[in-house]
Subunit: 221 residues, 2 copies
């Protein structure tokens, strides 16, 4: 698999996880920041290699081999993110771009040794699960802050949008993974939410709320 092919597989993987339909040429072009015609060409090549199944005008889906390969790339990406944050003290808005490069390094031994070195982490700095050596992904149950209930207490377990701007906003407001958050009030007018954490209150917009993932605290194992 070349670098370009791996990036396509990863993009198809992400889009499949978002909507359950076949992935359209245009959606892929958008995701890859390229032209639809380029996508068609690449898809044909991936179909030749049995990494995707492709019906013209119908879209594309990953084959078993294609998905396995995509998961390996995702695993490497997320492990490197953990490394950058925990060992090299990158901030969580900086890790993504470098991990985009590191995810293409080809050495199973490197990946597995890195995993071990990091203590077999379960999630990356954005709360996304890290596939294990065999490609198994432990699903994390999480609720968006927009779906949280007034009066209930949650822990922040992830973000949907991992753009630098959003992560910097969270940093500036001292919200990070593990922060305990209580829902004070949900404002029906603009869907903003007033939350309380670390003994301070904060009102966040719907846009922020949509992109913050929470997990209800306690009263289960």
């Amino acid at each position: 698999m070349t670098l370009a092919e791996e990036n396509y597989l990863k993009a198809i993987y992400h889009l499949e996880n978002q909507s359950s339909n076949d992935v359209s040429t245009n959606a892929l072009a958008e995701e890859m920041q390229t032209k639809a015609s380029s996508v068609t060409d690449m898809i044909k090549k991936l179909a030749e290699k049995n990494m995707v199944s492709y019906i013209p005008y119908q879209g594309v889906t990953l084959s078993k081999a294609g998905r396995a390969h995509a998961v390996k790339v995702v695993r490497k990406h997320r492990l490197w993110e953990v490394f950058l944050l925990e060992k090299l003290n990158f901030s969580w808005d900086e890790v993504h771009d470098v991990a985009e490069q590191l995810e293409h390094i080809k050495s199973e031994k490197l990946t597995d040794k890195l995993d071990e070195f990091l203590g077999f982490p379960k999630v990356d700095p954005h709360g996304d699960p890290i596939p294990d050596k065999h490609g198994h992904i432990e699903k994390i149950d999480k609720t968006s802050l927009t779906d949280a209930q007034e009066g209930v207490t949650y822990v922040c377990v992830g973000v949907h949008d991992s753009s630098s701007d959003f992560l910097k906003y969270l940093d500036a407001n001292h919200i990070s993974l593990g922060t305990t958050i209580e829902i004070i009030h949900k404002e029906p007018f603009d869907n903003s939410v007033k939350i309380k954490f670390n003994d301070a209150e904060l009102v966040v917009s719907e846009n922020v709320a949509k992109n913050l993932f929470l997990q209800e605290v306690s009263h289960n194992s």
Copy 2:
């Protein structure tokens, strides 16, 4: 700089350090495992970008910018080698191939943070010096075992050949960087050398001796 360009710069850098003449097209082709015609094409491109100066039929030399870039790649290569060996427990014959990939990751911050994480190492696992952030290289004074003197005690500080086979030979014979070696006898007939270390004696061939670098022990600062 693309990946291919970086590899050419690195190859030119290594060849310049070996012979002080201009680097010939054929020598580069040999080093790069490619054809002379491909080399000519690439050299022209690098000359366009002012990374090398090139006179047809005369060979090529690195420009200031070209050398600076080559040194950066070498720095990354050697830092990653230290990382793989010290942090991920790779053996010293395994680090090279993976470092060949990692050396092309583009992020100055990553390189400098990695350097710091490793404690600013001075040499890589083969005893080669690691350029600092500013491209400065601390020259290591070393003698080949073939030039060592009978009766004198040395420390092993590096290897010339870092092929997997040679390094495995050293491992099998328990020679590593830092091993103290006394020269018992130099055999003029075949230039083999009888050495003593860790209270055991060993005869090594000229080929081995040529590729082991030593430093005379004590009696200086």
